[in-house]
């Protein structure tokens, strides 16, 4: 049995680890397309502030993890796959035969359609090569324009700011992290950033970037221009599916998978950012592109690669936790609420505290928070366990901070 895993991110590495646990005699090949050992993009902000070196970003810290688990690691772009013959082609024109294939190729930053986006000094903040380029340019006093105040834009704010740069953030939508937080929360984040001397321009687009002397000039759609020594784009990511042209695999937003993480082609599975898998609690199929989901996909797909249809994917919860220059926010599930559902909201503008619980009937279906870091995972427990809240629903409506008590009382039956 030969398992091939394309993509050396969290989904791919977790899949290989699970494959080895469940199938001691199989041949396992892990194919990445970057020169470094498999690493975590999530660690890049901490690399930028030099809290860790590059080895601190590695997904598995032990030097012999891959050798010990007999995982053959290759760094080589895959150019195409042929499901009929169960063979993949590499960029060198070599081919590899597989018995089971996992596509875990992740995602790539979206390049906004702006003139000058390919100029020197304009970078994504996505991989280690980007991080090195940003570290070189983001020297003290440098003016930096960050395009996009989504999750990635926000999470690198502090790293950039700590390098002593002058930072302006440009966001097309009406608030920061619009896909993770509502207006009230986005407003708190903006005010927090402004209190840290970061300029945040919402409802503002970038119309073009030009070379100007040794630096760059960023033109905004309000007519202003910003001088910059470095422009960073963080306007979202999209699944890496380009190499699947001709493979006749069903793709919507991402690769469509069933409840076993199998694609429309037999013996080909997909996991992580590239996969459009089942969402909890809606039951729909979405691209979540988050670390916990990538790991869940990798583990479940691997189990089904070893033994067909042995583990059901019941759905992963979309959730995020974000540290925006020290202000910590999180969102879970249907944080925007559901029709006819109740909600409980606590907002303390002065102390930068926000807690928003969303109920569907007698269950918690989503939540978002700012400034709460203790026992926050219990929101996942409450949503995923679908526990009937009973009397605890009214108590949460009265005081949404009593989450842990509600969990212990309704789910664990300890009160």
């Amino acid at each position: 049995m030969h398992h091939i895993v394309i993509g050396a991110g969290p989904a791919g590495v977790t899949a290989c680890e699970t494959l080895r646990d469940l199938d001691p005699s199989a041949r396992i090949t892990l194919i990445g397309d970057e020169p470094e050992p498999p690493y975590s993009r999530m660690a890049i902000p901490y690399l930028l502030v030099e809290q860790i070196d590059e080895s601190g970003t590695y997904l598995r810290r032990s030097n012999d993890f891959y050798a010990r688990n007999r995982i053959d690691v290759m760094s080589m772009p895959v150019s195409s796959i042929n499901p009929a013959d169960k063979v993949i082609s590499l960029s060198t024109h070599d081919t590899l035969d597989y018995d089971r294939l996992l596509i875990a190729t992740g995602s790539t930053p979206v390049q906004p359609p702006i003139s000058g986006i390919n100029l020197p000094g304009v970078h994504n903040c996505w991989n280690l090569a980007d991080a090195r380029a940003i570290a070189t340019r983001a020297t003290p006093g440098t003016r930096v324009v960050l395009i996009g105040a989504g999750f990635i834009g926000c999470i690198i704010l502090e790293s950039l700011h700590k390098r002593g740069i002058e930072l302006t953030v440009v966001e097309r939508e009406d608030r920061m992290v619009p896909r993770m937080m509502d207006e009230a929360a986005g407003g708190l984040l903006k005010r927090w950033c402004e209190s840290k001397d970061i300029t945040i321009l919402t409802r503002t687009g970038v119309s073009g970037i030009e070379q100007e002397g040794a630096g760059l000039s960023v033109s905004l759609d309000n007519g202003d221009t910003l001088a910059a020594g470095l422009v960073i784009t963080a306007t979202g990511v999209q699944p890496n599916t380009g190499f699947l042209q001709g493979a006749d695999i069903d793709i919507d937003q991402g690769i469509l998978v069933d409840n076993y993480l199998e694609t429309s082609k037999a013996d080909i599975f997909a996991a992580g950012d590239v996969a459009q898998g089942r969402d909890h609690p809606t039951g729909g199929f979405v691209v979540q592109a988050i670390q916990p989901t990538a790991v869940e996909h990798g583990r479940i797909a691997a189990a089904n690669m070893v033994k067909a249809r042995s583990v059901v994917h019941r759905g992963s919860l979309n959730m995020n936790i974000l540290d925006t220059h020290g202000l910590i926010s999180s969102s879970f599930g249907q944080w925007m609420g559901v029709e006819g559902g109740d909600s409980a909201v606590l907002l303390d503008q002065d102390r930068y505290l926000y807690l928003n619980l969303q109920f569907g009937g007698d269950h918690l279906v989503g939540a978002s928070s700012i400034g709460y870091t203790q026992h926050i995972g219990v929101l996942r427990g409450l949503i995923c366990s679908r526990a009937p809240l009973g009397a605890w629903k009214q108590r949460l409506l009265d005081d949404p901070t009593r989450l842990m008590e509600a969990y212990l009382g309704s789910v664990q039956g300890l009160a």
């Binding site: 969290p10 977790t14 999530m42 660690a43 901490y46 809290q51 860790i52 601190g56 970003t57 590695y58 997904l59 598995r60 810290r61 032990s62 909890h280 039951g283 670390q291 916990p292 989901t293 790991v295 869940e296 583990r299 189990a303 249809r309 042995s310 583990v311 059901v312 994917h313 019941r314 759905g315 992963s316 919860l317 959730m319 995020n320 936790i321 540290d323 020290g326 879970f332 870091t373 203790q374 026992h375 926050i376 995972g377 219990v378 929101l379 996942r380 427990g381 995923c384 366990s385 679908r386 526990a387 108590r395 842990m404 008590e405 969990y407 212990l408 009382g409 664990q412 300890l414 009160a415």
Partner: protein
Amino acid sequence: MQRSLLIDPGKCTGCVQCELACSLEKEGIFNPSKSRIRVFTFHYEGRFVPYTCTQCSEAWCMQACPVDAIALDAGTGAKVILDAACVGCKVCTISCPFGTVNYNSDTGKVIKCDLCGGDPACAKACPTAAITYVDADQTGYDKMRVWAGKTDAGAMASTQYGGT
């Protein structure tokens, strides 16, 4: 035989000596907010419930960690934060459905119960035996495991729990 913390809320008087003992053991200070075990108060029921990590076998925290900074202590079964490797990304804090991994803003890293290497300070400090450290098969975590199963994204096809 591995041992686990057995918590009997019926015996808890809410004295929070466990919290003080834990924060002293782990942080060198008496600060309940830094304790890995917390006592929750139920005003309506007139009840106190000490609660901490159950060292669950699913170990969502350990699986979700992007930098391999949570390790299994083979001696105690505890899932242990490796401070030198933890970058403070907090993904484990939202992954743990029990809410027992917390971010410590003073250190920029996460904290959770590690069973004190097999000699838990909370159990030693508890004056009413509401917290004891006993053989794992006596702790009656079965019910908790059922809920853990309901939370997990994956389910064995033959034993699928209710849900989607």
